[in-house]
Each structure stands twice: as C-alpha cells, then as structure tokens.
Amino acid sequence: MDITSLDPRARLATAVAAAFLFSMVQTRAVLFAGSAGTILLICLAEYPFLMLFKRLAPANFFLLFLVVTVPWSMPGTPAWELGPFSFSREGVELILQAAVKCNCILAVFLVLAADMEIADMGAALEQLHMPPKLVFLFLFTFRHIHVIEDEWKRMRTAAALRGFRPKTSMHTYRTIAHMLGMVIVNSMDRSRRIYEAMQLRGFHGVFHTATEPGGGGIVFFSCVAASLVALTAADLIIR
C-alpha cells in the first residue's frame, strides 16, 4: 500500500493521535495489542525493516541511559542479584514499557508522516489549524537550517586552514564562541535582507502551495482511527 498517496492531513493527525494514545496506555495487554497493530501497519505500508531499525536507533539512546540507571536503583521485588546490585522487577518492567511505547510511537510516525516533504507538512499543519505564525516559523526555520549549517562549515574550514585544532583550552572556546557570534550576527543581518526581499514581492504572511490538499484513504484512516479508539477504551476498562 502506498502511504504517500494518502491525505497528508490525515497522516499527520493519525501519527500525533497515536503518539498521545500510546503515551496514555497503562495496561500490558493493550500495549501488546498496540505493538501488534504497529507491526501490521509497518507491513501494510511495506516499510523496509532495515531502514526502520536504522531510523529508530537515535531515539533509543535515551532509553539506553534509563536501562543503565533504572533497574538497580528502583526499589521493589528483586528479580535477580549481581554482587551488591539487585535488579528490581518493577524497574525492568518500567523500562520495557517505555521502550515499547517509544518505538511504537516513532514507528507509526515514520511510516505515516516522516517521508512527507516539509513544505507539504507545513501546509497540512496550517489546514489542521496550527497558528499561521507558527507554521511560518516552522517552514522558515527548515529553509534556513542548511544555510546556517553551510555558513558554520565555511567558518570551520577557514579556521582549520589557518591551523585551528580544537582541544580543551580557552583558546578553542574563544575561537568557537567568536565563530558562533559571527554566525549569529550574519544570520540576523541575513534575516533583514530576506524580509525586505519578501516584502518587495508582496508577502503578507500567506504561503501558497502548488499541490492540492486531499487524497484518498478514508477507509484506511477510519480503520486506524477505530482501532486507536478501541485500544484506548480497552485500556480504560481493564485498568
């Protein structure tokens, strides 16, 4: 099934709803059902598993920190002991739950929304009634990330060519701070020029998109929405 042909608004709204509903789940059975649903969604979308794992990896760093710190520090029934440390059953369960929730939320988001063009995402957010000023900020920030990054890289290259090797010293910190200060000054000047250029072209706060909103997938999204509602209801009842 081709997810990209579906309505971007529905894709975003579903991904956000799934994120919140997964965060609320408190019962184990519903969490299992939810992860089964997520796997079904991944298969339906024919999302390559290898790519999925690669993209989920950065999100799991924080979980790794919790894995290292929580199980032995949380009081509760000891599951097993290793020297002076005792690992509590509650701690292990807490982490497992967090890990399942986190990866399900992100997998749903990756499958449904992450492949979207940022411009389409901005348009969809506006149609979903996100404040226009915030949408403007979102689109404009994205537009300038590469500009700023290039500027930073240019400065770093220039410094490297003059023999700058970063190490733990005041000289390094001063150099980095001055380069960053220069980036800030340049970018604030740049923003003035951008704004003037936009005004000359008659900009008054509205972006127009070339693509028409809309697309298919009513049946698909009804099914996903129905299962999300069913899972939430089940969670509330079992709890």
Partner: protein, 207 residues
C-alpha cells in the same frame, strides 16, 4: 537532553504542553513577520548549534545555546525552541511529538527567567555583561537539566536516581555553556551591541 517518547506519564506530558502553549501564546502574540523572520533564522542557529561538538577532556559535549537565544529573544524563545525541537523530532527522531511540550518548556523557561534576571547587565559597562553572559548560559542549562530531571521524577519515583544522574551529568555542560555564552556576549558587545537589545526594541514587541 531530550526525553524520548513513551517515558513520561500522561499528567506530565499534558502539563508540559499546557505550559508550552501559554509560552507560545505570549511569544507569538506581539510578533510581526519581520521579527518572525529573524526568529526563524535564530531557530536554525539553535538547530545547528546542537550539532556542534566542543572538546572537553577526552570527550566532547554539544552546545545548547538556549541561554544566548533566550537573552536575544525574550518570550520569543518559546516559539523558536518549539519549532527547532519539532524539526529535530521530524528529521532525526530526537525527542518526539508527545513529549515536545515538556522538552520545549524545560529549555525555554530557564532561558526566559535568565533573560529577565540579567538583561540589565548587558548594557552596563565593565565586566558585568560578560558575567551576565556566563550566568545566563550556566543557569539556562542548569535550569533545563533540573526541569528535565523533575519531569522524570514526577513521572515515577523509580526514575529518581536517573533524574539525579542526569542533572549531575550536565554539570560540565553548564560550565562550557557558561564560558561559550560569556564569550559570545562579549563578541556581540564589541561588534554589534545593538543586537543585545533586539528583544526590547520597537517598543514593547517581545520577539
């Protein structure tokens, strides 16, 4: 440090969103599109700064710069961080959509408080602007680490030790951010002092 999805309790997530929405309201209320253009470019600076690694001993830490941006933007720090963190969630899967409220508030509130605590220092002569820059950078990160730790601790008592360790792990980051912020302020003060009053020019406009 971004908290990832699935960790925090619903109460904390919703509380974070409520507070962030209030901040967004004030941050966006008085801003026109001219200021938003500058805010967007600074938001891109924040995004890029998180990719810059500063050497520290055998390892390195990445910059946050919420203190410097808070100092420049005032209430505008809320929409700027919200946007940058949303893009980080979308593009890199750092953080996430449901925790966006908490993550934004954690970093924006301390920066905003520092803005109001130290903003008069920047126009003073002598050592005061540099000291203000250090304290701004230091306490913005300290506050962010404290809020993040609190979000964890409020979620489950089992996270208490992790929350403490998270805060302690950020102590060197606080020092580096303080130093870098102080040096950035002194650079701005020398080259373009008018930028330090960006948030308060054009009468009461906040962004």
């Amino acid at each position: 440090m971004h908290i990832s999805e699935g960790v925090l309790s619903p109460t904390v997530l919703i509380g974070g969103y409520a507070l962030t929405l209030a901040g967004l309201y004030f941050g966006l209320k008085k801003s026109d599109y001219e200021r938003l253009t500058t805010a967007a470019v600074l938001s891109a600076v924040f995004f890029t700064a998180s990719l810059i690694h500063v050497p520290l001993g055998p390892g390195s830490v990445h910059l946050i710069l919420n203190g410097v941006l808070g100092m420049l933007l005032g209430w505008g720090i809320f929409p700027v961080l919200f946007t940058a963190l949303l893009l980080q969630a979308v593009l890199f899967r750092y953080g996430g959509i449901a925790v966006l409220g908490v993550n934004t508030f954690d970093m924006a509130l301390p920066a905003l408080l520092c803005h109001y605590a130290f903003r008069t220092w920047f126009s003073a002569p002598g050592i005061k602007p540099i000291a203000g820059g250090f304290l701004c950078g230091f306490f913005s990160v300290a506050g962010a680490a404290l809020c993040t730790a609190a979000a964890l601790a409020f979620t489950d008592e089992g996270f208490m030790t992790s929350a403490r360790m998270l805060f302690l792990a950020h102590v060197p980051v606080m020092a580096i951010e303080g130093i870098i912020s102080a040096l950035i302020i002194s650079f701005l003060k020398k080259t373009r002092p008018e930028l330090l009053h960006f948030s308060s020019d054009t009468s009461e406009s906040q962004l």
